[in-house]
């Protein structure tokens, strides 16, 4: 383990660590543009200049591997002057259109100028080289003038997606990035280009002009788009989710997030949400309170007893699934969750980057908790035979399945917990408003059997409640209370009851999650395309 000294601080690092990585890990900031933790080192921006003792010239911190006894100074006058000069070069042709630039507030140029620059520009605005602005690249908007030519996007396209859509064109100070023949970017990971771009050259078209970033509050969460369980930030303002952003987790998604995942925030604030409970009466639907609706469901369950069936959803958190399972066991009905066989797809990769075929975030959690018991087909057969008197659905998946329509029509009482309105809800007798993933706290277990935590980012609409609270409400009405109120308390019960989860603590899971047992199906982390 080589030891080195950075700015007088003794640091012991793993062999092969670069100065920049070690400095950032130890709270010493060195400005950088082209270096990215999940991309290969390029060393083209020359802004991370440092002084290394016994080396005659300044070195770039991002490509300087630490050796034993190295003494590094990042703020010496010589290093600082070099950092400042390098920054000034990057800004020579920058249009300084921060007022209209969406990157303002999270821009490396702004941050580093305030920290390392603070000089008066030597270039008049009219002398600057002008390049293409407002270039539509499909999901991304390109502004070549703002580009600092760090090549992060090129390396991302090369190493992660292997698509190589972007390249440098022209020479000298006319160099800019461009797609071939101005074509659009067509892969599923374009949003990451806006994320990796340290400046405002590549920006998300979806987020364009929507919000200044300093108004946003970030909440740590997990993408519910598929079984990969990418770590995300939900950026929200005044209870309205504005965008999803990748949150770095080296073991799951590195720094990436797919575009379908990124778009999922749009489902949160829509008007088609189920915001109140409703019950089907003689004339049709009647809106009611959640309490009254739960009373009705509890009464139906009491009457049906073991002639009831329960379908959990892999869209729910581990806490939701646990509470639902407890409900099914308290009533004594049949239980399953495998509508459309997600358990077969949970390990199947959709592409070589992130996505999995299973579009549910918590199939593995359902499997771990043993919710797959009686089989959906068996439950449907029982429905057709008329031996199911009450059916409780944790999600509306089964209602959407065409093959199940006749079976459900045969059940006298169907309760469904739903987040969004849809024609399928008309097949139910009671609709309970459920909160979505961004509105609840809890945990998902991804395909690697990694338990990861979500935090509630935005308030649920109207009367909507987390599914575990709905299930807990039914349990207390049946005289068998769950004995836990918050997600943390329910998770303590999950950890006790689930094989492999023993000893897990809701807070101890941390921001990055904890892997339980051996990942089923091998260590299938995100593989960078070779």
């Amino acid at each position: 383990m080589p030891k080195c000294t950075i700015d007088g601080k003794e640091i012991e690092v793993k062999p092969g660590t670069t100065v920049l990585q070690a400095a950032l890990d130890n709270g010493i900031h060195i400005q950088h543009f082209c270096w990215h933790p999940d991309l290969p080192v390029d060393g083209n921006c020359r802004t991370c200049m440092i002084e290394v003792e016994k080396m005659p010239k300044l070195q770039i911190a991002c490509n300087m591997v630490i050796s034993e006894g190295m003494v590094v100074r990042t703020t010496s006058p010589k290093a600082h002057e070099a950092q400042r000069t390098a920054l000034e070069f990057l800004l020579v042709n920058h249009p300084i259109d921060c007022p209209v630039c969406d990157q303002a507030g999270e821009c490396y140029l702004q941050d580093n100028y305030m920290r390392y620059g603070l000089y008066d520009s030597k270039i008049e605005l009219e002398e600057k080289v002008h390049k293409r602005k407002v270039v539509d690249l499909g999901p991304i908007m390109l502004d070549a003038e703002r580009c600092v030519l760090c090549s992060r996007c090129l390396r991302f396209e090369d190493v992660v997606t292997g698509t190589n859509s972007l390249q440098f064109v022209n020479r000298g100070d006319h160099t800019s990035i461009s797609t071939f023949d101005g074509g659009k970017i067509e892969h599923d990971y374009a949003g990451n280009l806006a994320d990796v771009c340290p400046v405002g050259a590549l920006l998300s078209k979806d987020f364009r002009f929507k919000m200044r970033v300093w108004f946003l509050k970030e909440h740590e969460s997990v993408c519910p788009g598929c079984s990969t369980g990418c770590n995300v930030y939900v950026d929200e303002r005044d209870g309205e989710a504005q965008r999803l952003r990748a949150r770095r987790n080296p073991d799951v998604n590195k720094s990436w997030l797919c575009d379908p995942g990124r778009a999922l925030y749009k489902q949160i604030g829509v008007t088609e949400r189920v915001s109140g409970a409703r019950v089907r009466g003689a004339p049709g639907w009647a809106g009611t309170s959640v309490t009254a609706a739960l009373d009705r469901v509890a009464a139906a369950l009491k009457e049906a007893g073991s002639a009831s069936a329960f379908l959990a959803t892999p869209q729910g958190t581990n806490e939701d699934v646990f509470a639902f399972k407890a409900l099914a066991e308290a009533v004594g009905g049949a239980l399953d969750f495998r509508v459309g066989d997600p358990q077969l797809k949970v390990q199947q990769k959709l592409d070589n980057v992130l996505q999995h075929v299973d579009r549910n975030p918590n199939t593995q959690g359902c499997l771990d908790q043993g919710v797959g018991k009686d089989g959906v087909d068996k439950i449907l057969a029982a429905c057709r035979a008329g031996s199911v008197k009450a059916l409780v659905l944790q999600g509306p998946e089964l209602l959407r399945t065409p093959e199940a329509v006749d079976a459900i029509a045969n059940v006298p009482f169907v309760a469904v917990m739903a987040t969004h309105e849809g024609p399928e809800l008309d097949r139910a007798s009671v609709v309970l408003p459920a909160a979505m993933w961004a509105e609840v706290s809890g945990t998902f277990t991804n395909f690697q059997r990694r338990v990861q935590r979500l935090t509630a980012a935005v308030p649920a609409p109207g009367d909507a409640q987390p599914r575990y609270e709905l299930a807990a409400g039914l349990l207390s009405r049946l005289g068998k209370p769950l004995g836990a109120v918050s997600a943390r308390e329910v998770f303590a019960l999950v950890a006790k009851a689930t094989p492999g989860y023993a000893g897990l603590d809701y807070r101890g899971i941390g921001a990055q999650g904890v892997t339980v047992g051996a990942p089923a199906g091998g260590a299938a982390t995100v593989e960078a395309r070779a």
Binding site: P99, M114, L118, D120
Partner: protein
């Protein structure tokens, strides 16, 4: 109007004399306004007092030559506003050099505290203040003024422009504060700002 300073001795013993002294002042004012036409009041609203050229009255959104707003919807004013009375929605502008403009720009004048921070924060001199200080409306909604009304106010001649940004006063402290922070937090003292190179 020159201000007259009156010193009052609070320890003066009460008696008839101070009362008479007070009556004398009242009587003198009465004579002055009745016979000499030197009233200290004005006939508002027909008559208005002159106010400072830096008076912070109702806002004006300035225009470009083609009549479009100068504002680029950067949200600086909305960010700095302590009363949170500015609401902006931004949209795509056809010209590629400017890109962005406000599709909605509303100021709730009933919430506004007329601090002038929005004027200081604006990088485009798009929001300035007028010298108009009488705010009259019959409903609350009437006093939430939108983009077009804010822009139309630019043509007001009767009150004229009031508070406007002063490059020297406003930007300098921001930079001095940044330099100070650099020194105290990071121990970095950047070299003196380089002199501007002579124009080619």
């Amino acid at each position: 109007m020159a201000t007259r300073v009156v010193t009052v001795d609070r320890n003066q013993k009460s008696g008839v004399l101070p009362i008479l002294r007070g009556l004398q002042i009242t009587f003198m004012n009465f004579v002055r306004s009745l016979f000499l036409r030197q009233a200290s009041t004005v006939s508002y609203p027909e008559q208005k007092r002159p106010v400072s050229s830096r008076y912070r009255g109702i806002h004006i959104l300035t225009e470009r030559e083609d009549g479009t707003p100068k504002c680029v919807a950067c949200f600086m004013c909305a960010t700095v506003c302590p009363a949170e009375c500015i609401y902006i929605e931004s949209g795509e502008r056809p010209e590629k050099t400017i890109e962005k403009y406000p599709t909605r720009f509303e100021i709730d004048l009933l919430r506004c505290v007329y601090c002038g921070f929005c004027v200081d924060a604006c990088p485009e001199e798009a929001i300035i203040m007028s010298r108009e200080n009488d705010l009259v409306g019959t409903t609350r909604a009437e006093l939430v003024i939108d983009r077009d009304r804010l822009m139309a106010r630019g043509k007001l001649v009767e009150h004229g422009a009031g508070y406007r940004p002063d490059e020297h006063d406003v930007r300098r402290p921001v930079r001095i504060a940044a330099l100070e922070r650099l020194k105290t937090e990071h121990g970095i003292v950047p070299g003196m700002p380089a002199a501007k190179s002579p124009r080619r």
